[in-house]
Symmetry: none
C-alpha cells in the first residue's frame, strides 16, 4: 500500500499559489441549554460567506470517539496520521515552555517534589510550589547542573511545580519508564529501560534526579524532582520535503510554535493578540506559500466552561477575518485541532467543523459555518490528516497519479 505521505511527497509540485490554514483551537462545541453550540450562536457573517462559497465537512481528528490532545490534533492537520506518528508528552511540554529542541535530543517533564526518609515521595508536587519560587530554583539548577554522565542538560521553568529538561548527547532515546511513584507517600520508582537501548537514558535520568537532590539539599520548598514522559522530536518527513512549499507558522503560544517548528515550518513573529496574528500574515504574505494561523483563545474559553466567552472569541476572529480575505488566498481552510465544548470544559472526541474555500469547489449549499451545517456538507466526515492533501490539490500543487 502506497503510504499517503509518500504519495503526497511524490506528487507535490511548486506553484505560485497561497494557502491559509486558520486553526481556531478547540473550535467544535456542543449545544448548551438553548440547543445551539458556541459556533452556531456566534454572529459570523464572514465565515458564513466563506462557507457559502466553499465546501464544508467534519474532520475526524484521530479516529471515531477518540479525544485528541493538542499534539495529535495538530499533527493530523499538518497531514500526519496521528495513529502512526506520535508525539510524546515530554517534547510537547518542553515546546510549551518555549524551548527549542533538536532532533536526537530527549525532553522530560519535571515536577518538583518533597522527598522524605527512605526515598518516600511525600508530595509529588512539592505543595504546588509557586511559579516564582520554582523559576528561581530552576535558575539555580541551570547554573550548577550543566552535564550528567557526558550529556548536556538544559532546564526550563514552567507553571508552579512544573519544569522541563532537555538532554543533549549521544545514544539517548525514549525507551524508558517514568521516574515517578505515581502516588504521594509511596517509595520512589526509578526510571528503567524498556529495552537495552534505553539503559543509558534511564541511567542519565536517575543520575540527574540524584544530583538535583544533592543540589537542593537544605532547600525548604522542594527537595527533589520526578521526571516523566521522556521523548524527542518525532521521526517524520518534514514540510519542505513533503509539500515543496514555504510554510509559515503564525502562532502566539509556544507549544504551537514548537509543533510547527518540528515539522519544518518557519516560525514568524506573531505578537500576542488575534490582531497581531492577522497582521503578521499580511506582513509576510509574499514570503511564504502556506500560512498556519493558530488562535488559542477558543480552546482556553472552552476549557473555562465559558460558553459566551468562547462565542465572543469566534466573533472576534470573524470580525478580523477580512484582514486575511483581502489578501485573496487561493485556498483557505478554517477548522479546529479538536473540539472543546464549553459544556464539557475540556477536549472532546467530536469531529471538527471544517470549511474549504477555493476556485475549484462544488459549493454545497451551506449558508452558515457550524457543526450541524458542516455535518451536512459535501466533504462528509473526513480523516483530518487527509485535509492537507486536499488543500494542495485545490492550490494546483499535486500532479496526477498514474497515467
Amino acid at each position: 500500500m502506497l503510504d499517503r505521505l509518500e504519495m503526497l511527497r511524490s506528487l507535490s509540485v511548486e506553484k505560485n499559489t497561497r494557502m491559509v490554514l486558520l486553526v481556531m483551537d478547540g473550535l467544535g462545541g456542543l449545544p448548551s441549554a438553548d440547543g445551539i453550540t458556541e459556533l452556531e450562536a456566534a454572529a459570523t457573517p464572514n465565515l458564513d460567506l466563506l462557507a457559502s462559497r466553499g465546501e464544508t465537512g467534519l474532520l475526524e481528528m484521530v479516529d471515531v470517539g477518540i479525544t485528541p490532545g493538542s499534539g495529535p490534533g495538530h499533527l493530523a492537520l499538518f497531514g500526519y496520521d496521528p495513529r502512526k506518528h506520535f508525539i510524546g508528552r515530554g517534547i510537547l511540554e518542553t515546546l510549551g515552555v518555549g524551548a527549542e529542541v533538536l532532533p536526537g535530543e530527549m525532553c522530560a517533564r519535571g515536577n518538583f517534589c518533597t522527598w522524605g526518609e527512605g526515598d518516600i515521595i511525600l508530595d509529588r508536587r512539592a505543595g504546588r510550589i509557586d511559579t516564582d519560587s520554582s523559576a528561581s530554583l530552576i535558575a539555580r539548577l541551570g547554573k550548577s547542573i550543566r552535564e550528567i554522565e557526558g550529556v548536556a542538560v538544559r532546564f526550563y521553568p514552567g507553571i508552579e511545580h512544573r519544569f522541563a529538561v532537555v538532554l543533549s548527547g549521544e545514544g539517548l532515546n525514549d525507551s524508558v519508564t517514568d521516574a515517578d511513584p505515581q502516588n504521594d507517600g509511596s517509595p520512589m520508582v526509578w526510571s528503567r529501560p524498556l529495552e537495552p537501548l534505553g539503559t543509558r537514558t534511564a541511567n542519565v535520568i536517575n543520575s540527574l534526579i540524584r544530583r538535583l537532590r544533592e543540589t537542593l539539599a537544605g532547600e525548604e520548598k522542594a527537595s527533589g524532582c520526578l521526571l516523566r514522559g521522556v521523548s524527542g522530536t518525532p521521526e517524520i518527513p518534514l514540510f519542505p520535503d513533503l509539500y515543496k512549499m514555504r510554510s509559515a507558522a503564525v502562532a502566539t503560544y509556544p507549544m504551537y510554535r514548537g509543533l510547527a517548528r518540528i515539522v519544518g515550518m518557519e516560525v514568524v513573529d506573531a505578537g500576542k493578540t488575534i490582531e497581531s496574528l492577522f497582521q503578521a500574515v499580511k506582513r509576510d504574505w509574499n514570503s511564504f506559500d502556506f500560512f498556519f494561523v493558530h488562535v488559542k483563545y477558543t480552546d482556553s474559553r472552552g476549557e473555562d466552561g465559558d460558553f459566551e466567552a468562547k462565542r465572543d472569541v469566534i466573533e472576534k476572529v470573524d470580525r478580523l477575518l477580512p484582514e486575511i480575505l483581502s489578501l485573496k488566498p487561493d485556498v483557505m481552510v478554517v477548522t479546529g485541532d479538536h473540539s472543546t465544548p464549553s459544556v464539557m470544559g475540556g477536549h472532546s472526541w467530536h469531529p471538527s467543523p471544517f470549511l474549504l474555500s477555493s476556485r475549484f469547489v462544488r459549493t454545497d449549499g451551506s449558508e452558515s459555518f457550524g457543526e450541524r451545517a458542516c455535518a451536512r456538507g459535501s466533504l462528509g466526515v473526513m480523516p483530518a490528516h487527509k485535509m492537507m492533501g486536499l488543500m494542495l490539490a485545490h492550490a494546483g500543487r499535486l500532479a496526477k497519479y498514474g497515467a
Copy 2:
C-alpha cells in the same frame, strides 16, 4: 486485516443475475459561471429516474485530493485499491495503441528523436514527426528488428513521434530506469537496472535503441528513439477468479478495452459510437453476467474545456439509456473513473457522482443525478474500489461473512 479482495474472492458465488457498470469517463465536473455543473445542466430524465429509484453517493477514486489517471481510476472501479495495485505508463500506452499484452511481457513508450554528435539528443520528439511518417518508420522497424538478445520485439505505431514496444521473453521485469535524457540538447541517458533483477531488461532496452539507430541510419525525419515507462501487466487476481461471473467489456477506445482485458474481462465488439455500445450490450445480454460499458466522450469534451459539448454527451447517453434499461439489469451503476471539469480542461481530484439501482436499495430521496445531489446521497463518500463488492451484494452474489 482480511484484504478486501480476498474477502470478495472467498464470499463470491455464481447466480443468475445481470449487472451493468456504465462508466462515463471524466463524468464529474465543476460549476461554471452560472453555478451548475455539466451533469447538473444536462437534461437527464432517465438518469434522474434511476437516481430516484436507487441510492447515490460520491466515489473517492484514489484518495482525498488525488487526481487519478485513467489507469488508477478504472482499477478502482474494477475493485482494486489503486494505492496497492499500480499500472505502469508503458503498459497503458501500449494498450492504448491497441496491442494485446500477455503476462510476463514488458511494454515501453517510445519517442522517435533526433540524435546528434557524441550521443547528444537534439530533439526528444524528432520535430513532432507526423503520424504517417512515424507509422511508416514503425512498419520498417517491425520488419528489420524482430529480436534482441533472444527477446522477441513488437512495434506499434502511435500519434506523431510516439510508438509502443512490447518485449517478450524470459527474465524480463520493470525494475529499470527510463532511457531518456529528459531535456533536449542533453547527452543520452541509458536505462539502468534498479536492482540486479533488472539487468537483463536494461541491457535489452539499450541494445534495442542502438539497433534502431543503425536501422534508421540515413533517415531524415528521425535518427533514434527513447524508451520509457517499462512495465508489464500488473500482478493482480483476475475477474473470473475474484468475482465468479462472466464479464464483458463494451468499450470503443483501445486503452479501456486493454485495461479490461488485463483484469480478465472478455472484450466484445462495440463499434465506434454510443449507439453501437448500447446495441452490443443488447446483443450479448444472455452471454454475460457483468457488462462494463465505457463512454469516452464525456472526458474528451471536458479535456477540450467545452462545457456545452460535455453536457450534450451526457444528454445523449441519457436518451439512449432505455436501450439498456429495457433489459432490466438486476443492478445498474452509473459513474465516472475520475472528474474532468470543463472549467479545468483536465482530470481533477473531485470525487465522482455515483448511482446504484437495484431492488434492494434504501431510496434516499434523490430527485436527480448530479454532483451536489450525490453529495447528499445515502451512500456518502465511498472509496471507489469498494463499489464492485456493493454491486455483487445487490446482485445476490456474495455469501454471508462468518456464521
